[in-house]
């Protein structure tokens, strides 16, 4: 039973355009959400996060949107750059489960020059 789902295994975007990565969750106890970026042969690196009390958090080219009623969040990258090509993981934390992360399956983003 996957509690965090990323339904698009891959996404291809032209350089300079917007990349939108989506994530859905089922556990209403999740109260904090994070996006991690992973390059091959490296561990995931933290990108951006959002608390459930907010609906938007922005950091430079990266913005995360949270729609609690739909149990959906998205990561927007604009403008996309070739260096953004990586696997992006959505993760969630439950207030009742300490700090361990529940991850989605990841979306491979390819930004074409």
């Amino acid at each position: 039973d996957q509690q965090v789902k990323q339904n698009s295994p891959s996404l291809s975007v032209q350089e300079g355009r917007i990349s939108i990565l989506n994530c859905d969750y089922t556990n209403s106890m999740f109260d904090y959400f994070l996006w991690y970026k992973k390059y091959p042969a490296e561990g995931p690196t933290f990108l951006i996060s959002i608390s459930s009390i907010k609906d938007k958090n922005e950091d430079g080219r990266f913005t995360v949107f949270l729609n609690k009623s739909a149990k959906h969040l998205s990561l927007h990258i604009v403008p996309s750059q070739p260096g953004d090509s990586a696997v992006y993981f959505c993760a969630a934390v439950s207030k009742n489960a300490g700090n361990m992360l529940t991850f989605g399956g990841g979306t491979r983003l390819m930004v074409k020059p």
Binding site: A41, E42, G43, T45, S49, G98, L101
Partner: protein, 118 residues
């Protein structure tokens, strides 16, 4: 400063053998986590250490898996009698503290150990 390090980076073993994977967390981080990523899958939580508290082992897939953390720093994940389905990348992460989730609880990951069970 130094990040999370893991060793070995790659491990190939035969079915039935025991393996030990090592994690050195970021200095000063009291929380340590083990995850694994099987081929084509997302990251799956295995075990969590916080300070001197009893570890949260709720993610361990079987009793062949165990982990310890000595002196509140280095951790070793042991897999006994390895099976082919244990093949995965095993990732370790550390964070500053448990508690209310905030920026200080961001988990920093090591590069992982790729385990292949033949």
């Amino acid at each position: 400063g130094a990040g999370v390090s893991q060793s070995p980076s790659n491990k190939v073993t035969e079915k039935g053998k025991d393996v030990e994977l090592r994690c050195d967390p970021i200095s000063g981080h009291t929380a340590l986590y083990w995850y694994r990523q099987s081929l084509g899958q997302g990251l799956e939580f295995l075990i969590y250490f916080q300070g001197n508290s009893a570890p949260d082992k709720s993610g361990l897939p079987s009793d062949r898996f165990s982990a310890e953390r000595t002196g509140g720093s280095v951790s070793t994940l042991t897999i006994q009698r390895t099976q082919q389905e244990d093949s995965a990348v095993y990732l370790c992460a550390s964070s500053l503290a448990r508690g209310s989730v905030g920026r200080t609880d961001t988990q920093y990951f090591g590069p992982g150990t790729r385990l292949t069970v033949l």
